[in-house]
Amino acid sequence: MSFPLESFVNSVKTLSSQGNLSCLYEFLENSSEMLSKNTTHLEAALSSLELGQHSLGILALLLARFKAGAGEPATLDRQMAEFVEGCAVDQIRYAPDSYAELCHLYTKKLLERSKAIKGLRVLQQAIAKIQASPNQLTSIHADLCHLALSAKCFRPALDVLDVDIADISKENGKFESRHLLLYYYYGGLIYTAVKQFERALFCFEIYFSVPSLSLSHIMVEAFKKHILLTLILRVEAPPPKHCYSEVARTTMGRRIRPFCVPYVELATAFAQRSPEPLLAVVTRHQEQFTRDQNTGLVKQVVASHNKMNIQRLTKTFVTLSLSDVASRAQLPSAQKAELHVLGMIEEGEIFAAIDQRDGMVRFQDSPEQYAAPEMVARLERELAQIMALERRLQQLDEEIQLEPQYVQKATKTQHEDDSGQACSSSQNNKVANNIM
């Protein structure tokens, strides 16, 4: 082992045993250049350090190895997995940025080799170790979702996505807005793949909740998917005014719309009753949709248009013959209409009864009485969520009120107000005295 590396190893051992971890972190930052010059001897250095006691040192060595790109992939994978499993949590909390960078490089290597599925468990464990609380977002979250999409195995990512985020890990200043946007964009894609469209819609709404001076590609793509999902779910476009600033929403919308002309046209054609304009828009912009890899979603939009037409019929008719359903909803035949209606009854989108004897469909009101235990259980669950959210907001409010900067500003404006009032009242007195 070369001399600089030997001295490096000794410094790591001394500083770790002294427990002087912030010093060690700075030392490691300064030695990164030296490490990158000595990549051939890193293996020996790694074997002389112990995982439980010298996690920070091993982190720096592994980072140098990954950056250099040397070494057999299988060994690197194994070392990464062992490191994540055995590292000491209190040590790595001093270097969250290096830890995150290591995970980014690991993800990149796996994606290059198309072995994304191997990284899922490792990254899940890595996130669990570095998070201060289960609701904290790190830049590794985006990597996990990226791997899940590449491997087409969504369960580990869904476990992480289902937890609401309440906090962001700063990672010594290296956390960027890109990581947040990517996490929500990939998360939205994953939810769309497993057909949880409401959660996906929530994820794609990041395009107007992240303040920015210029647009990013991620926001534009998120906006396109957002339009498609609102059409598939047949809900009103952006959420109510009190959720997001009205100004932010309209300005973002105005800036993004020029980039997504085919999608806006699709939305306008969807609102019409006949499917012809919709199909015309689809064929006209087929190429653009294929380039954006949105063809599957566009097909679902067309199917959703049919469903919308059938739902319109439930508002006007109580009974209707299957052939009438087919002609009014512009479906090719009564058979197809029956299959469509059956599908919608299964999904719970309409309530109806088909009578094959007369070939009639009887539309019914929703039989939900809101009195069954399942409904009560659901109510309890949602109320518990809302109460937890309210508690969290109160906590945040208290934290802000105790923040010294806020107190300073608040008292300053109060003094200005008070002195202003004192001035004006003294002026009034003078005037009154003059008059008198």
């Binding site: 599908g343 009578d355 094959q356 309890e380 109320l383």
Partner: protein
Amino acid sequence: MLADLESTRKELEKEELSAPDGVAPSEVYSKLMACYLLENDLCSAKFLWKRAPASAKETDGPLGRLWSVGQKLWTKDFPATYSVLRGEWPDYLQKAVSELEGVIRERVLTLVSRAYTSITLTDLAAFAGVSADQVAAVARERGWSVDGAVVGPKPAPPVIHGATNCEKTLAVLTQYVSFLEN
């Protein structure tokens, strides 16, 4: 296998993710596919098929045939589903496949009872995967009226729920009201 479906599925998913070099034995994939079909989780089944390695996807292998069952369920082609399920299966899947046939039939017949007030015997036979002479017996078993060539399905009687703990409910309700009043 059906007794503890959720825990079996979690075990198999863990096995798939911890496999050396990302490739698990093909039995794991077939069992996992059967679990997804039993839970009626067709999306997960589709992605399992997409990510399974080529070694598990041999022509006419159990995984491929299970996935064709999934495809037929997706397009609601029930007669074809039953015919694929009745083929030859390896020993470790035999029990799962026979459970699967029963589960699918139950699901379809519940849907029919919800959606139809009258349905022809031929259509019902196609949905239930039974022959024309047996279908009338199946209908009568469920208390449906059989009238010539047409059957009148009745929705299943609503399930009676057990009593809940009064004090606990009162405490929870007081919590909600105090929260809403503030």
